[in-house]
Amino acid sequence: MEDIDEIVREFLVESHENLDQLDRDLVALEEHPGSRELLSSVFRTIHTIKGTSGFLAFNRLEQLTHVGENLLVELRDGRRSMDQPTTDVLLRMVDTVRDLLSAIESTGGEGDVDVETTRAAIVAVQEGGAAPAAPAPVVEVEVEVEPVPADDQPVAEAAPVGAADDRPAAEAAPVGLVPAPRAAEPAAPAAPAPAAPAPGAPAAPAAPRASTAPAAALEDTGTLRGAADSSIRVDVELLDSLMRQVGELVLARNRISRLASSAQDVDLARSAQQLNLIASELQEGVMRTRMQPIEHVWSKMPRVVRDLAALCGREVRLEMVGGDTELDRGLLEAVKDPLTHLVRNAVDHGIESPADRVAAGKPPVGVLELRASHAGGQVSVEVRDDGRGVDPEVVAAKAVAKGLRTADQVAAMSSNELLQLLFLPGFSTADKVTNVSGRGVGMDVVRTRIESIGGTVDVESTVGTGTVWRLRIPLTLAIMPSLSVECSGDVYALPQVHVVELVALDTQRSDAGVEYVHAAPVYRLRGELLPLVSLAGVLGVEASTPESESVIAVVQADQQRFGLLVDRVLTTEEIVVTPLAARLKAIGVYSGATVLGDGRVALILDVQAIARRALVRDPELAARVAAENLAAAKVQTEQVLVAGIGGGRRVAMPLASVARLEHVRTDQVELVGGREVVQYRGTILPLARLDRVLGTYARETDELLLVVYTRGGRSVGLVVEEIVDIVEDEVGRHSSIDDAGLTGSTVLGDRVTELLDVRSAVLAADRDFYSGDVFDVLDDTADLVGATR
């Protein structure tokens, strides 16, 4: 009994795979009605299912596939051509077969799946179109590839498809040299070729193969199936446990490496090295076994697009690039639904109806492109359509109408930020709810799903030209790059995918420290207010470092960007993620744990959860920050380079006009006409020593630090003693002083800093620097020193 169950299970697994292939083949067949390979492939699949179901006594399944096969025989024999009703009915058959299979899977029997209507539909199409509606086009009339009459062919022979597909290719090579007169081919048509094919026959399949590009593409699907024959099925759980064990091996390896590097034992070091190598290769190998091409998910898309396009009255051409891009099978499973949703959305809302497209000056057939590629340890998947695009104004209006944002908020947002609103829960731009999308399963679900596997999703759109949805997915879930951070003496792992940048809070050097907006700490990062969240605060542990010495890890979660205050940033490392006990997961701050290289256990921070926890507590904070940002934009600031010039004096100069910073050796300085110059990148660079210009004395050193200003083809170097910092300078706070070479002073980082009159300093080095554009002089002055005068 158990044996039979085993056989049925095998049959189900195999058939499900075959059906996916069948969907793809049928849709492709509609586009290339003459393709022999596709027809043969479809035929073989149905035939295999029919044969096995007869053997396993699934009678209704057998009956259904039998009529389907009859229809296919006509197609294959050229007695009818592939048209939409035929494809429809065949796809319907596939669906019914699928229903039957799932009934068998769940109940062990065929259940009460309705086969009869589908069967009747097939027969109707068959009878309706039995008399060839039109003389079949030349391409379609090709000679039988299969030398054996299909009905007699045992199941076992039908299975190795790859071999069958290779045969015509092999034959094509020698025969291709013989000119095959196309006109002769229609003579061969209806011959069912039950016996050995006529001598000239193999030439026919050779023709489309050798010539057209689509044929080459189709051949690929053939070889793909062939490749499956050289593989075995492995239980996924076995792979998962292998992966876990390798993860542990990697950790053990890390510890041994650490020990070996501290011991002075050469042999130990050598062995550790070798272990290192083997473990890495093993890890890579095991990871590869879990990798599957994204094609597995895409294979369903042609059918989805076809059905949906028909339903919505669209004409869509689906292009798929990079289907062989591989990613972890668990992730593949996780991106399936979001990806399908994006594809459906693109067909339904993205691509316009043919009439609208033509009116907009576009070809009637819309192009939907799926593109996958590896990029920087991640897989990037794009869903790109050339439809009407998303209008940020419409999105803004919608967000306001739905009360998700206020009018003031949207007014302050860039069009890219507006597009991000599409991912808000409760947002749907569809004017009316259709059968297809707009059923509440929105982009927020797509985002949640993608982010739950550590990926990101992004949208770009140009009105009138199309939309691109871009998914970034990690290669594997089990191992991820992370940043180790320290907080109150404990080490935590911060997944790198969320980290945008790191900022050292150092109040000693700049005055842009932590500010408070209604008791909520914020940090002014390049003029934008960044809400701050103290990790110690979130975790409820005592802070061990004063805020002023913390490091801000700027992280991005959902749409929110915030600064996570940590004590120290230690290192980046690849960590192996171990799941947490359920009761620790329930805390909602950690997404897992990992063993670090030194053997310590570190908790992995769930950045999204922290954002929700810490920022939602004060829902108005985000609004305030946005408002503040708007206000901040009005305060004129500019970045200035602060340099020490000797004698304890500091000057600030606008960073915008600085081209480079350079070191030159003092002995490279030459004198030309009483002025100092250095040879620099093949030109002569005049120098001005700011200490002398401003009347102070710098230390004598063997190296000069130059701030190089470039304008047009000319450059000058201003010699300073040291570069102190780059800071934001608020123009409004300047006080004017009247001294040669200076335009005013300001307070930067608690120090009075002089504002350099760059123009006069530059002129001190090169009297002709500004000549030749007299008219610009006034503007330049304003440019270079900021609007101080």
């Binding site: 542990e248 950790l251 053990a252 404990d490 080490v491 975790l539 409820g540 542990v541 171990t578 947490l580 006990a581 009761r583 620790l584 805390i587 701050v589 950690y590 744990a593 990992t594 063993v595 053997g599 310590r600 256990v601 570190a602 908790l603």
Partner: protein, 138 residues
């Protein structure tokens, strides 16, 4: 005949079913888990595996041991998960005849009661048998 791995916490002698115990060893350095429920004492690295550690003291209504006190871990299997119980000292494995196993005494604190499956009268003292699942649930 039932076999129990025994250990002491404070002055009490406790035991867990020997079948559930994977190993007993000196307590490792733990990584604390902020915000975790009381009783979760942290995570330890047990030969590359991250294992949750439960301190039995708060569970048994006892004051925590002082910093730096030497403790032991009894590693048990709970529903497919490995959990280590933090105890004071490990004792012997004892075999108890069925006749000596009794229901826990009524005088037991109500908070502790769900933890105790039975009480065994050994020759010289009382052994309280812990319900491993309850104890590890912290």
């Amino acid at each position: 005949m039932s076999s129990y791995v025994t250990f002491t916490v404070d002055d009490g002698l406790y035991g867990v079913d020997v079948q559930r115990v994977q190993e007993a060893l000196r307590a490792h350095a733990r990584t604390r888990v902020p915000l975790a429920p009381e009783g979760v004492s942290g995570l330890v690295n047990l030969r590359g595996q991250v294992v949750l550690t439960v301190d039995l003291r708060p569970r048994l209504g006892l004051p925590p041991l002082g910093e730096g006190a030497d403790q032991m871990m009894v590693v048990v299997q709970v529903g497919g998960e490995t959990v280590s119980l933090l105890v004071d000292e490990i004792g012997d494995v004892v075999d108890v005849e069925p006749g000596r196993v009794e229901a826990p005494p009524d005088t037991l604190d109500v908070l502790i009661r769900p933890l105790i499956r039975s009480a065994c009268t050994l020759d010289d003292r009382l052994l309280l048998v812990l319900d491993v699942d309850e104890a590890a649930a912290a």
